[in-house]
Amino acid sequence: MGIAGFIAALAGSVLSLIISFIPVQFTNILLALFLVFLTVMCRMMPHRASIKGCLIGCAILTLVFRFMYMTTIGIILYGICMVAVIAGAVLMNNDSGSYATVGGEKA
């Protein structure tokens, strides 16, 4: 499940990065870059639930902010991307749950 989550989250964040280039929207590129960064961090440190928290929170914030500004098809595309990111992060979290019981979970 963990790898599926990673792929979903990575696909979502990379896709949102790609959409931000057509047309080029500088802020969107930066936001998407940060999401990609967080996704990779999640994969590298699966036992840190807090990074997943960051990823989910930032995906929600992206949704909120993009919805405030956009009015076109972009909303739908972003919506799908962010849902993929959130779902992916949650799936990865499930995976790390079993991991953490071995490594000793942090309260």
């Binding site: 919805f67 405030m68 009015t71 309260a107």
Partner: protein, 294 residues
């Protein structure tokens, strides 16, 4: 088991006690007149939304002589901007509901569980804030937000809606947190869970039914918000359905598309109506149980 069934069976197949029902006849008549009136005009509006303007003007909407006109909905949805109003309202309602819960639930939990200095004061101010009429606060808030013209208007209105629902939500949840047993926290503390972690992992999921109820009320409240929307979100781009519908009605003098107007009315009416059909028991229990207006 069998015994229980025996006792229940006669009740199910009980014959209608006509004598008893007859004494209630006036009651039935009054209620039915009210309901028929409601149903009649709702059905008429529904039928009118599928008719052409001339048909509506002549008053024969139920005959569908020229067929069923679904295009009214298309006109309302795209030409008259209902799609945008609808999307705006959905955005305000969903974001508003989520953040209201995120602010209110923790506060409500702390207020109901822990004694601290201003506990009582905060509780009372929340109850007072709940009944402060919107007219008392809009002018200064307008003054504050007017200086934020750089910030997107949608964001301002969403934040206002969140803040506007917080007192009600917090007070509503107080009772539910009070009913939860303290043994959950004790058990969690022994397992080494931090207090905040205990809340998010154990207590928050436990009050889920109350969260659902209060979220329904918040959704309805934000979806139907009108006064604040007229002041803070009245421009075409960001208007929610209420204000949008008013604009459609006002422009009706020039467009004259009555079919599309009624289609717009139905579109605005439908989401909360459907919600109500599925959740009416929960909503009614929430109104009377909470004892406060939603």
């Amino acid at each position: 088991m069998a015994f229980g069934n025996k006792e229940k069976l006669p009740r199910v197949h009980q014959k209608i006690n006509w004598k008893k029902e007859a004494t209630m006849l006036p009651g039935y008549i009054i209620i039915l007149v009210w309901l028929i009136f409601t149903a009649a005009f709702l059905l008429w509006i529904l039928a009118a939304s599928f008719s052409t303007t001339p048909e509506i003007m002549q008053g024969n909407v139920f005959k569908f002589e020229t067929g069923v006109h679904f295009e009214n909905y298309a006109v309302a949805w795209s030409q008259q901007n209902v799609a945008r109003y609808f999307g705006n309202s959905l955005l305000y309602s969903i974001v508003g509901c989520v953040f209201t819960i995120l602010i209110s639930a923790p506060a409500s939990y702390v207020l109901s569980r822990y004694k601290f200095i201003c506990n009582k004061i905060v509780k009372n101010s929340l109850i007072i804030a709940m009944s402060v009429p919107a007219v008392m606060i809009v002018l200064p808030i307008y003054a504050i937000t007017a200086s934020w013209r750089n910030a997107p208007d949608r964001l301002i209105f969403t934040i206002l809606m969140i803040f506007f629902r917080v007192p009600y939500t917090t007070v509503f949840l107080l009772n539910f947190f009070q009913t939860l047993s303290r043994s959950y926290e004790e058990a969690a503390a022994i397992d080494g869970c931090s207090p905040a972690g205990t809340f998010w992992r154990i207590m928050f999921p436990l009050v889920q039914p109350a969260l659902v109820t209060v979220t329904i009320f918040n959704f309805l409240g934000i979806w139907n918000e009108f006064f604040m929307a007229l002041i803070f979100a009245s421009s075409q781009e960001i208007a929610p359905v209420g204000v949008g519908l008013l604009q459609i009605v006002n422009s009706m003098k020039y467009t004259g598309q009555y079919g599309a107007l009624f289609a717009a009315v139905i579109i605005v009416f439908l989401p909360t109506f459907l919600l109500y059909i599925f959740l009416s028991e929960k909503i009614i229990a929430g109104v009377t149980g909470g004892g406060v207006k939603g």
